[in-house]
C-alpha cells in the first residue's frame, strides 16, 4: 500500500494521488488537516519497526506501507493548530504525530520519496555543491566571504557575479551591480555567497529513480522563478532531451544524495557545458509538468508502486 500525506489540494500531491489512483494501486491519502482524527505510534525493536497509523478510527499497520510520498507542511501552520495556545493538547498531539511520521519515514523499509534526513543537504548550498562536484558535475565558481576586498578581486576575475543565500532559505538570486558595492562593507558581519554569473539556458532535470525528465526554461531574468515579478514576463518551458552521459550523471547524483526523486538545476552554456547549481529534494514539479505535459507524477506513482521504469532513456523526445 502507498501512503500519501500532505494537503490534498497541493498540486504536486494531487497529481501523484491521481496517478496512483489511475494505476489502481492500493493507497491511503492522509490529509494533514485531519490532525484531530490522526494518531501514530511505532516501536523499534530487534525485528525492525512496527506500529500503527490511525486514520479516522481505522488502524493501518505501518508494515503495510511499501511506498511513502510526503508533502507535509509545517504542522504549526495548519489552520487547525495555528490558533492553538502554546503547549495546548492539540498542539502537542500534532507535534507528536508529525514527529513520529517524520522519524518513521526515515527508517521505514519502504520506498520513501524522500527520506527527511536525505533532504538536508540542500540546507547548505555550498556544502551540496561540493557533493555535486564529487559526482563529476561542474559547479559555478563560488566565493563565500566576510572580506569586501576578496569580493572585488573575485569580480575582477569573473566579471559578472550573482549573490544568493547560503542556506536553504529561499532567496531571489540577484546580480551584483556597481551600486551594490557601496554597501559591500555589510558583509563583514556574516559571510555572503557570491557566484560567477553563468550565461546559458536553464534546464530543470527531474530524476525519479532512473527516469529523467528535462525541461528548458527560457527567461531574461537572473532567477526565472521570479521572472514575472522582476520583468513582467513569464518564462517559456519546453521539454528537452539530455545526452545519455549527462542523464546518467543526474541519476548518479540523485542516488548519491540518498534521494529517490530530485529536481536538479542546470544551466547549459553557449559552449555546451552543463553547470549544476543545486539539487532540490522536494521539487514542485507540477509547474514543469503543467507547462510541458511531461509525465513526472506518473513516474513518481510507478516508482512508489515499485513498477519498473524504462531507463535511462528520457521519456520525451527533444523539442529544442
Amino acid at each position: 500500500m502507498i501512503l500519501l500525506s500532505g494537503i490534498p489540494s497541493e498540486s504536486s500531491l494531487a497529481r501523484v494521488h491521481q496517478q496512483v489512483t489511475e494505476l489502481g494501486v492500493p493507497h491511503l491519502l492522509v490529509n494533514q488537516r485531519w490532525v484531530r482524527e490522526l494518531a501514530m505510534a511505532c516501536e523499534v525493536n530487534g525485528a525492525g519497526v512496527t506500529g500503527y497509523l490511525t486514520v479516522r478510527g481505522i488502524d493501518y499497520p505501518v508494515e503495510a506501507f511499501t511506498g511513502v510520498f510526503l508533502r507535509l507542511m509545517d504542522d504549526a501552520e495548519l489552520p487547525e493548530v495555528r490558533s492553538e495556545a502554546e503547549g495546548s493538547p492539540l498542539r502537542r498531539h500534532s507535534r507528536d504525530l508529525h514527529e513520529t511520521l517524520y522519524r518513521w519515514s526515515q527508517i521505514a523499509p519502504a520506498v520513501v520519496v524522500n527520506r527527511p534526513d536525505a533532504m538536508a543537504s540542500n540546507g547548505s548550498k555550498p556544502y551540496q555543491a561540493q557533493l555535486i562536484a564529487e559526482q563529476g558535475l561542474e559547479v559555478p565558481a563560488t566565493l563565500l566571504t566576510t572580506d569586501p576586498e576578496e569580493v572585488l578581486h573575485f569580480r575582477r576575475h569573473h566579471g559578472r557575479l550573482v549573490y544568493k543565500s547560503i542556506s536553504g532559505a529561499r532567496s531571489v538570486v540577484r546580480e551584483l551591480q556597481d551600486e551594490d558595492l557601496a554597501r559591500l562593507d555589510d558583509i563583514r558581519w556574516c559571510p555572503v555567497q557570491f557566484q560567477e554569473y553563468v550565461d546559458g539556458l536553464d534546464v530543470r532535470v527531474h530524476v525519479v529513480g532512473r527516469q529523467v525528465f528535462a525541461t528548458a526554461i527560457r527567461s531574461e531574468a537572473s532567477d526565472y522563478r521570479y521572472a514575472m515579478r522582476l520583468l513582467g514576463d513569464a518564462p517559456a518551458l519546453t521539454a528537452v532531451e539530455l545526452s545519455d552521459p549527462l542523464a546518467e550523471q543526474c541519476i548518479k547524483l540523485t542516488a548519491a544524495l540518498g534521494l529517490e526523486f530530485s529536481g536538479i538545476d542546470l544551466r547549459v552554456t553557449p559552449d555546451g557545458r552543463s553547470v549544476c547549481f543545486e539539487v532540490n529534494p522536494s521539487p514542485a514539479f507540477s509547474y514543469y509538468e503543467s507547462h510541458t505535459g511531461q509525465p513526472i507524477a506518473a513516474a513518481v506513482a510507478r516508482h512508489l508502486a515499485g513498477i519498473a521504469q524504462s531507463s535511462p532513456t528520457p521519456a520525451f523526445a527533444a523539442s529544442r
Binding site: 525492525g48 547548505s124 561540493q130 566565493l143 542556506s167 556574516c190
Partner: protein, 246 residues
C-alpha cells in the same frame, strides 16, 4: 599542520591535543568554537576543481586549508559574534546562513577528518535515537524497544551510565577501544560504526538484569579519554597517515 576543532569546554579534546603533540604530530593547532565565533575574516571558495578555506583570527592566527594535513573535528556547535549582534528580524536568518556556511567550510577540510561533518551535525552526522536503535539492531547489538512518540531525544537519558553499570566503547577506524577485539560485542560495535559511516563513534552499552549488554546510545563525539593511550596512538597514526603519503 593538524587541527583539533572543538567546543570551548571540551576537556577530551584538550587531552587529545596534548596527546597528539606528544606523539610527534607538529604543528597541532587547537581551534575552539569561541575562537571561530570571533574570527576577523572568512574566505571560502568552492569550485569544480576543489574547495578552500582561509580564516583570520582575532589573535592574529591564520588558518589556510592548503596547510592542513588532518583534523580531529569535535565541534558541537557553531555561532558567530556578528550574527548574535544582528537586529532581531535578521538574527534567525543570519544564524541559519552562518550554520550553512560552517557545514560547507568544514566539509572542505583536506586530508583525514575525524569525523567528517554532515548537514545534520558539524562534528559528525547526528541521528535520532530511533535510527540509532535500527542501526544497532542491524549491527547485531541487543536493543531495548524504542517507542515513538514520546521517548525523548536520548535512548539513555533516563539511565545514567555510572549507576546502571554501563560502559562506553569507542570505535576508531574499525579498531575498538574498551572491549577485547575478539568480543562479539566489539565486532557489533565496529559494524555499527561502519553502518553509521562514522570513523569515530562512541557506543554506550548498559547491562540488563540477566547480564546481557544492550545498546543504549551512540555519539560521533565521545569522551576520547576512555580509550586512553592506545586510542591516541591510533588517532595519531590515522591523522599522520595521509601526510606520510604526500
Amino acid at each position: 599542520m593538524w587541527l583539533v576543532l572543538c567546543d570551548d569546554w571540551d576537556l577530551a579534546a584538550q587531552w587529545a591535543y596534548q596527546g597528539l603533540r606528544e606523539r610527534g604530530l607538529a604543528p597541532v593547532e587547537m581551534v575552539t568554537a569561541g575562537a571561530l565565533a570571533h574570527a576577523a575574516s572568512w574566505t571560502h571558495r568552492v569550485s569544480t576543481s576543489g574547495s578552500r578555506i582561509e580564516v583570520r583570527f582575532a589573535d592574529g592566527r591564520r588558518l589556510d586549508s592548503q596547510q592542513i594535513a588532518g583534523t580531529l573535528n569535535r565541534l558541537g556547535s557553531v555561532w558567530n559574534a556578528g550574527t548574535a549582534s544582528a537586529v532581531e528580524a535578521d538574527r534567525a536568518y543570519a544564524a541559519q546562513e552562518f550554520y550553512a556556511f560552517c557545514v560547507s567550510w568544514l566539509k572542505s577540510l583536506p586530508g583525514v577528518v575525524v569525523n567528517r561533518p554532515a548537514y545534520l551535525g558539524v562534528g559528525g552526522r547526528w541521528r535520532h535515537p530511533s535510527e540509532w536503535a535500527m542501526l544497532a539492531a542491524e549491527a547485531g547489538l541487543q536493543i531495548r524497544p524504542y517507542r515513538l512518540p514520546g521517548q525523548g531525544w536520548s535512548t539513555s537519558s533516563l539511565q545514567p551510565r555510572s549507576s546502571a553499570g554501563g560502559r562506553t566503547v569507542i570505535v576508531l577506524n574499525d579498531a575498538v577501544f574498551g572491549l577485547a577485539s575478539d568480543n562479539p560485542l566489539a565486532q557489533s560495535c565496529g559494524r555499527l560504526a561502519r553502518l553509521a559511516d562514522a570513523d569515530l563513534l562512541g557506543v554506550d552499552l548498559i547491562p540488563d538484569r540477566d547480564g546481557t549488554w544492550r545498546f543504549a546510545d551512540a555519539t560521533p563525539c565521545p569522551d576520547l579519554r576512555i580509550g586512553g593511550a592506545p586510542l591516541l596512538d591510533s588517532l595519531s597514526a590515522m591523522l599522520g597517515e595521509e601526510a606520510a603519503l604526500r
